[in-house]
Symmetry: C2
Subunit: 641 residues, 2 copies
């Protein structure tokens, strides 16, 4: 954590200095003109708001239909990948401390000798070793909102949501010179209830859920399965003799199926309970299902174990359904160079899932983490508006992949267990196949399965062999290293904060400490001095040298062999009004705690490698250290001088 | 972190439910009658206040002479031991995130070829491996205060300090039936400035620094060295080419000595600069030393490296002096069974150090962490008042040991470096000996050197061989384990929260899973059923079974072999209004991440061991699991039925 940058300041370093030029607000009224209007204070909307709040020069407004912050969560599972993103937002430690960690999953099926009772038949580790430095955890969605809201409140512009606002209509004028989006909002509460406010925005983002008004306004539709299978979900405080109650548990019983998710605090547990199949045209709402029925179903499934429910803080019944939009923005068709997106949709507004794979909230947050830096780069004049096409291009494809996985998973989950003697051709799902599917798809449920294809902002895999463990198009897989300046063990990926910056991880070749004409030294020379350097081309005069590109170096030698006073100045750059040096850019393997990052991530030891990482932590490119021209050309594709 | 215990509650789980019976306060006036009056809002006072705030039935008041919370810290070093205590208070993660970690110390001396310049001659790890699960860190004292204040504010009684209060006088009436301490406080600010408030207290604790008014009121004196050696200390934001600026560095140069401590945020650095020797009767105040002089001295010492100071947020000049009181309470003499302490002093009020060993703040907090649970136990009717004698008995002895260490360390630090050719008999300190002394005394500087002698609350070492790594009288040295109920890797010691409870860590013998007549099963049977059981004798009816004694079990087998549904009920006790089970009391070795806690802490695998741990995390006793009568007798010595 870096602070006291521009002078010592007492108090909490997470509270930024207030921006003296922040837009003035008229009491609780929404502003009449903004850069970005976000509709919806769910996980997608808050991720975007928290991201944009990092930039004092961007005027953001976020509105929400409900009249205050969420108190009781719907979603609760937080994938490893989401924790990595929380780290970039600075609150992963808070979540780690407060959440329930999912360490193992156990599988239960009907006891072969007494099929009315259940018996444990399998136990697997929840997340494969080394998949992420973070565990899979469970925490009330409301608390995740709280952490985002705190981050927004502590940001330079002190961003706060405007609650009790309903979108009346949205107009987009593609011909308008500026502020082409006009949104009318009705106030749903307070003394000015019923009044309509008009907000003109450069961009609007609908994070307003499965019934998104923004989606309707841009004429897009969720397409997918109609569902005829009802599931109940409930959070309970209960007393039971079921021994795995603090594990994640998948139960296939003669009385239906049940998924158990332990919750934060050591006592709360979530049950997903299979209810009867619905008729073809039947809806859940017509069934009058009660929480007592859910409890009774859970008790039947858990037999011979007992379950005494003491409190049900939250419950719901839902139908399974996977649906998706074909495009996530307002530009018709594809590849239209003429028109650039002005309105986007994200999260449940463009894809819905069954809750079983625990992906709804996680995937929604990744949507807007993808969008946030792109909006910021265009608004701040760093990138061309073509960049905005990549949001829908990237996110729609990976959502479709997730939905295919989710559909299969939900089908298996809802199917009846097949007995061993029934053989392969019989109906129902083989419990062993079910467990195998779970294990195979661990990367998806951990959230690290997303793999963007080559595009404007993702390079080709020509040089992938230089760093086989940093796969282009996937998120940067962090690894433990030692920081040279203070010999502190740190995670390499944690240098990546949600600050809109690109990161160039330069892994040094074997001789790079000595050879001052090549490798890291030559790269730094190019980046600092050349007219073609992306650092020079895309960083404004007066900005810190690392304001757009954060150049980090990783040497192969022990930290005691790396003399920081002999390194290129770009690796210890002077910054801020005092020109204080930044000592947190040079790393080496952590030989003591191991393993060596060069081995772990398959770095070519002779040549080294340059790993280019996007502001949303995805690997954009892998290049030789000497590929100066290629590097410059990559950024010229979408960045402005 | 356990919560949702008595029902689901939205919001931050660290904010306790407010106590509806909390004493009513008359605006900002101090209450007229309290259980404990704490004088002074420094580290010692706040540790005590945060500890007592855990108990809704104890009425605590804390007053401070300054008119608000500290903004700029004096102390900054946080020892490993202190981090362990912060973990018990629930804010170690916050400190880890925000602080600077000290990983290595480098040693510099005059260059043999050019004695005017300095050269590095040594480098050591700051803390020996495995000494603590926490690193040695550095963070502004003001932030430590903030975390304590937040904890107090979140506690059931919402404890807040009363600022701008000066102690006028203190009277103790040893004959009084109740509230024997009368303290008069003058208001130093606000509309009622100058008014005198009178507070009657059961106990008063002076945490009011080296010039303690409380100490004077009980007629005690700080005794020790007069100092004639001046040191300057300054926090700076500076640009330098000195390569070790982010390490802790001890420099002995031809131009004087310098200690460098890197600070939080990546830029701030603290310098301790040796100034000239003072004359015999001279004081620092008479020297008119300026911060410019400190900067110049640092520049001379660092030569040939440059130092450009950009900002000096804080600086001071002090004289070295180690002083201590012979007793820390108001009872004259020793072993007086007739009279029990009513007034205590803690922290700088009873011992002062040089800042070099980084022990002032750390040791002060350990004083009141020692006192807090004792006061609470007596006030809550759990323990006899004899217990209060042990505060001075334990803390005064270990402070003397620390001062002896500190004196030698400070002497070495202030001495001139001896050249190699001068040989052993010459004056000055050998740089190698200096480094060796530092390494040898790592346990002291890490804060884990404290070793209480056998007493009312520390047993004899008769059975120490059963658990050689948990030394009676030292702090519980935590170790990694796996929690059986959810297969989560946790730290065994982190079960110990600052909640005033005793912890009985029962390490199972090899056959304890099977043998239901001996070992753990027999111990749990005794503790649950016997009339002699300390759990039954000292826990009130209606309290949770673990309200006074938290019984935890550690088995030798893999977690998959420990069937929690076959364990004694005491290890999964029903608690709270719903009788929800507590699943966080059973552990096993973490075979995956290793090492095995039984090997690491030398537990007798055949017999197992019972490790009795005090509320302040110190090991009180090691006993065989079957020593039921000895266990009961130990607690009968000082606890009430």
């Amino acid at each position: 954590m870096q602070f006291h940058f521009d002078g010592f300041r007492p108090g909490d370093p997470r509270v930024s200095v207030a921006n003296p030029h922040a837009p003035l607000h008229d009491g609780d009224a929404t502003p009449s003109q903004v850069d970005v209007l976000i509709v919806g204070c769910g996980p997608a909307g808050l991720t975007l708001a928290a991201q944009l709040a990092a930039f004092p020069d961007i005027h953001t407004c976020i509105v929400e239909q409900k009249d205050g912050p969420l108190q009781l969560g719907q979603a609760d599972g937080i994938a490893c990948r989401t924790m990595e993103m929380f780290e970039a937002f600075g609150f992963s430690e808070r979540v780690l401390q407060e959440s329930c960690w999912i360490n193992e999953v156990t599988f239960w099926k009907p006891d072969e000798r007494n099929p009315d009772a259940i018996a444990r038949h399998g136990r697997v580790q929840d997340t494969e070793d080394g998949l992420s430095e973070f565990p899979h955890v469970v925490l009330n969605q409301a608390r995740v909102h709280d952490f985002y809201l705190e981050r927004m409140r502590n940001a330079p512009n002190r961003l706060e949501p405007h609650y009790a606002r309903r979108v009346v209509d949205i107009e987009i004028d593609p011909q308008a010179a500026d502020y082409p989006v006009t949104v009318r909002l009705e106030r749903l509460a307070g003394p000015r209830q019923g009044e309509v406010e008009t907000v003109k925005a450069r961009y609007a983002v609908g994070c307003d859920g499965a019934r998104s008004g923004v989606r309707k306004a841009i004429g897009r539709q969720l397409v997918g399965d109609s569902a005829n299978h009802a599931w109940g979900v409930m959070d309970v405080l209960a007393v039971t003799d079921f021994p795995d109650i603090r594990h994640k548990v998948a139960i296939q019983s003669a009385h239906g199926n049940l998924l158990i998710i332990p919750r934060e605090g050591g006592h709360l547990v979530r049950f997903y309970v299979e209810m009867d199949k619905l008729g073809e045209a039947e809806r859940v709402a017509s069934r009058n299902i009660t929480s007592d029925q859910l409890v009774e179903a859970a008790q039947r499934i858990l037999s011979p174990y007992t379950l005494a429910v003491k409190e049900v803080p939250w419950w719901s019944v839902y139908e399974i359904g996977q649906r998706i939009c074909d495009k996530y923005d307002d530009v018709p068709g594809v590849g239209t160079g003429e028109r650039f997106p002005r309105v986007f949709i994200a999260g449940d507004a463009c894809h819905t899932h069954s809750p079983k794979a625990g992906q709804g909230m996680n995937f929604s947050m990744q949507d807007t983490f993808n969008l946030g830096w792109k909006l910021a780069a265009v608004l701040r004049g760093q990138a061309r508006p073509e960049l905005l096409h990549t949001y829908s291009e990237e996110r729609q494809v990976v959502a479709q992949e997730l939905i295919d996985f989710d559909r299969e998973w939900a089908r298996m989950f809802s199917d009846r267990p097949r007995h061993e003697e029934e053989g392969g051709a019989a109906a129902g799902v083989d419990p062993k196949a079910f467990q195998a599917y779970f294990e195979q798809h661990g990367r998806f449920t951990a959230g690290v399965g997303t793999h963007y294809r080559p595009s404007l902002i993702c390079g080709e895999s020509t040089h992938q062999n230089l760093a086989t463990g940093f796969v282009i198009g996937t998120r940067l897989h962090s690894a433990p290293v030692l920081r040279v300046s203070d010999a502190r063990p740190v995670h390499l990926g944690h240098a990546g904060k949600a600050d809109g910056r690109w990161r160039l991880y330069a892994f040094a070749g074997a001789n790079d400490l000595q050879d001052r004409q090549a490798g890291i030294h030559a790269l730094c020379e190019f980046l600092s001095q050349s007219h073609d350097s992306p650092v020079r081309r895309h960083t404004r005069p007066g900005q810190d040298v690392d304001a757009v590109f954060d150049v980090l170096a990783i040497f192969q030698q022990r930290h005691t062999e790396v003399a920081i006073d002999h390194l290129p100045g770009l690796l210890l750059p002077p910054k801020g009004r005092f020109g204080l040096r930044d000592y947190e850019k040079v790393f080496c393997p952590d030989f003591k705690h191991g393993p060596d990052v060069f081995d772990l991530r398959g770095i070519d030891r002779a040549q080294g490698a340059l790993v280019v990482v996007r502001p949303d932590q995805y690997v954009a490119h892998v290049l030789p250290l000497a590929a100066h021209a290629e590097l410059a050309a990559f950024f010229r594709r979408f960045m402005l001088d």
